[in-house]
Symmetry: C2
Subunit: 238 residues, 2 copies
């Protein structure tokens, strides 16, 4: 069994390599890449179907690389291994994981045996495994029932790009007023409160983006890839 390890931090990389050889005797070869582009090349050339993937990397981040890997080979098993419990990452991953594949999401702070367990569960057994820490974080925030549904999230991303209501409506195929309704519920769920009392009045749009970032509903990587998606969408209609 060949494993591709995608990780730009040398300490984490050598630790992971260590754990890999210790816990998975099935592994015969370990390849190495330090960013998404290298990962895609390596996986293609070496016909890899088991990957341990860091998320935040220069050049091309883990989610984008994973998307390519899965396009070329839908049964690739990928364990994402990240420093951050951002809801944005998990959302990005579940949006692209193919039907018949396996993945896992583990925090780098996870203890060694949990890491071993996850490696076996995902890479060998082909299970889905998500660090409990992330689900926990996903639920806890201020206002009640604050989980965004997919269409709300889509509008949030477009808002974050700086698009105007009309353009969002066009892109997502809703009416202008519907977009604004989505924004309303976004403001609600993200805790964007207008100062009804003597408090500070705010710019809701910017505030929504601020809140989304601070609560880790959105992160900068997500914005960057969303930008590319948008440009692509825009190019494909002239």
């Amino acid at each position: 069994m060949k494993v591709l390890l995608v990780e730009d931090d040398q300490f984490h990389a050598s630790y992971m390599e260590d754990v890999l050889v210790e816990s998975l005797p099935e592994v015969t070869q370990i390849f190495h890449a330090v960013n998404g582009l290298e990962a895609e090349r390596e996986a293609r050339v070496m016909a890899i179907d088991a990957v341990v993937m860091d998320l935040r990397m220069s050049q091309r981040n883990g989610i984008e690389a994973a998307q390519t890997l899965w396009q070329e080979r839908a049964d690739t098993r990928i364990l994402f291994w990240s420093n951050y419990a951002d809801e944005a990452y998990l959302r990005g991953i579940s949006a692209i994981v193919p039907e018949d594949s396996a993945y896992g999401y583990l925090l780098k702070t996870a203890p060694r045996d949990r890491l071993k367990l996850a490696l076996r569960a995902v890479l060998v057994e082909g299970q889905i495994m998500v660090d409990r820490e992330i689900h926990r974080l996903q639920r806890r925030t201020a206002s009640p029932r604050n989980t965004l549904d997919d269409s709300e999230f889509a509008v949030l991303v477009d808002l974050g790009l700086g698009l105007q209501d009309r353009m969002i409506a066009e892109r997502r195929g809703m009416s202008l007023r519907t977009v604004q309704n989505r924004l309303l519920s976004l403001y609600d769920k993200l805790g964007v409160e207008d100062a009804t009392d003597g408090d500070t009045p705010i710019n809701k749009r910017v505030r929504a983006l601020n809140r989304a970032l601070v609560t880790r509903t959105l992160n900068v990587e997500t914005l960057e890839t969303a930008e590319r998606d948008f440009e692509q969408w825009q190019a494909g209609r002239a």
Copy 2:
């Protein structure tokens, strides 16, 4: 000489400890903290004046902790050691570094001898030292002469919090129109372009925040601490 090492990643911490004992024989004791709060306590109790500080940590980030340390003891020497070449961090640091102190900013990707050099220069010799990588990144962006001056940056931060023009004007002691002029030049320098041709119209305010984040002029930590500063400012005037 006592050194306080503030770092939440165990691998990086043990690596740094290693380099410390190898390169600085004057070091007699190394204390350890995993977040800003612990760092403040430890520094106070142990009377520390030399610190190696990670930036991104839970609880309380490195810049906030440094501010406290410098308030209590203005000659503390701090080497910031970070994964990120964000202009935002450097700006946050230079805003709080006292007259008669020394600091350094080094990336974690720096090779071992540069690290040794920085440790000696900052902690022992009391020099200022900034990784060249960061200055380089600071200059390269799209539009010409795009370095923000302090007042532009202040407005940018307030914008990022979601404040309205009127409130920014009040807080920064400018007229409303002046704030808007600052915004104008911000839009220019950040490359926020309205679609004069048949292109996509945008919401400039949100777009400005987006650009600032993507170019690493601003980061989420900055927004979080700015939020606290703002609340404090607001509380101090009833």
